[in-house]
Symmetry: none
DNA sequence: CCGCGCTGCGGCAATCGGTCGCGGTGTGCG
DNA sequence: CGCACACCGCGACCGATTGCCGCAGCGCGG
């Protein structure tokens, strides 16, 4: 199995690839992860991440979903293809059930919504692949805003990210859809 | 409607186990699925579902997450254990990213938030389990207005018609809820 | 009888949403 | 190669919707 041991080893730190287009965020998180014992390399786009991963496949990866250019999802696929044991965590400020499902299906070990702190990410990285089926179920239903967001994300995924097609399917105006997509999902 | 072909040949209908504790919902959905060509058996709890599944493992399953007693998640685990080829869709009115991740990790092929219609469920059931996660769906998704309406009605029913309580559960203003309730006989 | 929570509703200001339109980009075809 | 076509992002305008306040009526338990 994958090395679940903490990246403690004195001279052998675990390699981790961090991919996010937000410079400030990436820098801060990279430092935080280094302090926690990882050998961190960074990338600001899917393309450059693939380059680095091909040169040296990392043991762990933290990748942002929404980036200019290709979606972080395709990177997950690529990383797992390069090494099925890579433990990938998807990180996003635009969390939705639809993308979470895709990320997990593609082989990510976990999916976190920003904002989240470095400790959460580390915990996710080392989390048992099997979770606890007896987890608590949220007591209140989704808010209408949240439900709308989830629905839109789902349809958008079905339309492969095509905004115009999604707007047509939803019978709403493209401009309106754009505006809704631009706003962050309401944290619950 | 344009639903491709019925799941299987003429006299051999696919077996499907439907598990939900809401009697009315279960009855309606069972009928809808039968009309779409499945041989449907139902259960109102995880325990009774396990009994039925052990007697005869179904090819497909639609299970609710939140049920009195055990969580639907443990049922997914059990069904997959009985037959790894079982195609399970998780269905819930209390959707969350956390439970969605669990469901997928346990082997569910998809995870849908209520309200959703029977066509969506069928599409989810038949969606490619491996590879391309976004498969084309034929039916048109519900409009956001429609979805909102269904959701509000569901929560309102859960709160026994109490508008104030519903507004709180939905985290929306009572006045706004009132206006929405007063206006819509929304249809498409 | 009083306090409390729920309900329906008017009104006003602030935000949102529908619509039009523009410029830019990527792609397939004659 | 140039054109048609579809997509994307975004500014602007203005009517529709929402957030919020307040008021009055009503049933219920102390």
């Amino acid at each position: 199995m994958a090395q679940t041991e903490t990246p403690t080893a004195d001279d052998e730190r675990s390699t981790l690839l961090l991919v996010d287009d937000d410079d400030a965020f990436r820098r801060v998180l990279a430092r935080a992860l280094e302090r926690r014992g990882y050998s961190v390399s960074v990338a600001a786009s899917v393309e450059s991440a693939i380059g680095k991963a091909e040169a040296q496949p990392p043991e762990f990866a933290v990748v942002d979903l929404k980036m200019p250019g290709q979606s972080g999802l395709v990177l997950i696929e690529k990383l797992i293809e390069l090494d099925p044991n890579t433990r990938v965590v998807m990180l996003t400020g635009y969390a939705s059930i639809a993308t979470a499902i895709e990320a997990i299906k593609l082989g990510a070990v976990h999916y976190l919504a920003k904002p989240c702190d470095a400790d959460e990410i580390v915990a996710a990285l080392h989390r048992d692949s099997e979770g606890d089926p007896t987890m608590p179920v949220s007591g209140s239903p989704l808010s209408v805003d949240r439900l709308e967001w989830e629905h839109i994300q789902r349809v958008l995924a079905e339309n492969h990210g095509n905004v115009s097609a999604t707007a047509r399917a939803l019978r709403m105006h493209r401009r309106t859809l754009q505006r809704k997509l631009g706003k962050r999902p309401t944290r619950e």
